[in-house]
């Protein structure tokens, strides 16, 4: 039983971190209908900036965080303007391809600028666990989950309470109507990429600490897909729920199934789950059901 509890807690904590990356993806999709295959690479880029800044002597963490967030927001603006603006109106597949090309560019760029070695992203949290009765609690997991939770709450508040957030939701719902009402759609697009950059910054710090910062950090972007599919491509709440479910299922399934099948179930169990869910709900748990017209 203790083992099961361990697996679940671990899974949920990791799941929150998945949600953080997934939220960035969903944000962009909701506002602009673009599927950003480069979200993982944005996380990696943020991780690199964070690691490099922390490597400079005497850089306090809070300053690094502020600079990183500012930098990533700026990057989001630049990417939207430079690369995605010309692709407005192009077929979906071409846009996906552009984001894939973007991911190659980012990967090549970070290695050219900062070299191929893995860097560490040390956070002032101890690695050795606290014992709480039979359970071992790892402080770093807790801190990571807390950061993720904070960010997600902040996003939630932003979208429901602030004017800009409501405007974004309006654009996601119906672009034409929003333009009629007076919302500057192009500004909303830019803003959605900027916020996605912010989410990537948070993800970069957390994941960079857990996995070490190098080019392979971009692979967390791969995990985004089952999460957003489970939750629904255009639902932020869905991204959170999807992430939690994914993390828990992964952890428990591989903990119990691995010994029987020789390991490796962690990779495809989430996808099997996802396909099953899709059969019942083709747009994910909370996704928007599109009505097709002939």
């Amino acid at each position: 039983m203790a083992f099961f509890l361990d697996l679940i807690t671990n899974g949920l904590l990791v799941g929150l971190m998945y949600s953080l990356v997934a939220v960035g993806f969903v944000l962009i999709y909701k506002a602009t209908s673009i599927m950003n295959f480069a979200q993982g690479d944005l996380v990696m880029f943020a991780g690199y900036i964070a690691a490099v800044m922390l490597g400079l002597k005497g850089m306090p963490i809070w300053l690094m965080v502020i600079l990183l967030c500012a930098g990533m927001v700026l990057l989001g603006f630049v990417l939207e303007r430079g690369i995605l603006r010309p692709m407005v109106g192009q077929p979906l597949v071409s846009v996906i391809m552009v984001t894939i090309g973007l991911s190659f560019v980012l990967q090549g760029l970070v290695t050219i600028i900062w070299g191929g070695s893995t860097r560490e992203l040390p956070l002032p949290v101890r690695v050795a666990p606290y014992t709480l009765g039979p359970a071992l609690i790892s402080p770093i997991n807790l801190v990571a989950a807390l950061i993720a939770l904070l960010f997600l709450l902040a996003f939630g508040l932003f979208f429901t309470r602030s004017r800009l957030g409501v405007a974004m939701r309006a654009v996601a719902d119906d672009q034409q109507a929003s333009m009629i009402v007076g919302i500057r759609v192009s500004r909303v697009f830019a803003l959605s990429w900027a916020i996605a950059g912010l989410a990537a910054a948070a993800g970069g710090i957390i994941w960079g600490n857990m996995l070490g910062v190098d080019r392979l950090l971009a692979l967390v972007g791969l995990k985004v897909f089952p999460v957003v599919i489970l939750g629904g491509l255009d639902s932020i709440g869905g991204a959170i729920v999807g992430g939690l479910i994914m993390g828990a299922v992964e952890s428990v399934a591989s903990g119990y199934l691995d010994p029987y099948v020789g390991g490796g179930t962690k990779d495809f169990i989430p996808y099997v789950l996802m396909i099953l869910v899709l059969f019942i709900k083709p747009h994910g748990f909370f996704g928007h059901e599109t009505i097709e017209r002939v």
Binding site: F104, G108, L233, G263
Partner: protein
Amino acid sequence: MINRESGVFQTSYQGDMAVYPLPLAKIALGLTLAALLLVPLGLAGNDHLLSILNTIALASIGAIGLNILNGYTGQISLGQGAFMAVGGYTAAILSARYGMPFWFGILAGGSMAALVGALFGIPSLRIKGLYLAVATLAAQLIIEWTINHVPWIGGGAQSSIYVDSPRLLGFVFNTELRRYYLILVFFLLAYFGAQNLVRSRVGRAFIAIRDRDVAAEIIGVNIFKYKLLAFAVSSFYAGVAGALWTYYLRIANYENFTLAVSVEYLTMVIIGGLGSVLGSVLGAIFIKLLPIALDLTVISIAKNVFGISYENVANFLANFQLLVFGALIILFLIVEPEGLARLWENVKRYFRLWPYSY
């Protein structure tokens, strides 16, 4: 003036529906075929160039298959690598374990892949768009895991199976040149097969599904059957390509067919042009040749113009190539989102009126 259509009159339905109605096109086709057959003979000793040609040809077959699914039927698929793996391992098992000849292995590999592809195509009945793409991603991962963990399929701990060079009536294909001709046969079959497929009834059904599947269903196109058929045909191509890879490398190893490979084929198809068989080939040439060309060009420029030797900047150069690769993809898509095939169409259209401008 060159691509002239005036003066060419068709007097039969057959002539009207021909794939290449113009005499110029027929001549061009004949010349291209002749070049494909004869030029490599002149390259007989140059294994390096021949290996590049072989790689491109093999990639084209897979790309054509993916284009049928992606470009003509509109179903985004990220599982092409896995279906190639299925074909490759089937062929390897049949040849290495049961001694079947290579042509049987290739056909069986294609059929097996078609079956598996149809199986993973079943979700496409309910799911669309990105959701489907991720479902095919699931196929990629599940198939990889299966090959890795089921020793009967994967051949044991090393998950790879060696096969001998293909042989036909005592003739062994054991040089690059001979392998080239073997692959060429399949390439031509694949190419012209696809050309004919997309102009047939089946092909029109595919295009209908891509454009407006609800409307297609209303007018009587059986979506279920044709979607599965699209998956099956596309996977058949993938399986054949995978089996050929196995015979070419003489080993079946799933690490040659990973997700990165699937993404690579998707790139080929998109850059080449969705919905165009010629586009798939052009895309394959572009994607396969680009890293090699970059490799050779950048290194030799660095050495001869700047005097920088390889080792000092090796790390930089290798990643610079990756960056240039990504940047070229982005640039290309911004400039011509419909791919190389459209560029080729533009060239042909220009020459239709040349030297006049209107």
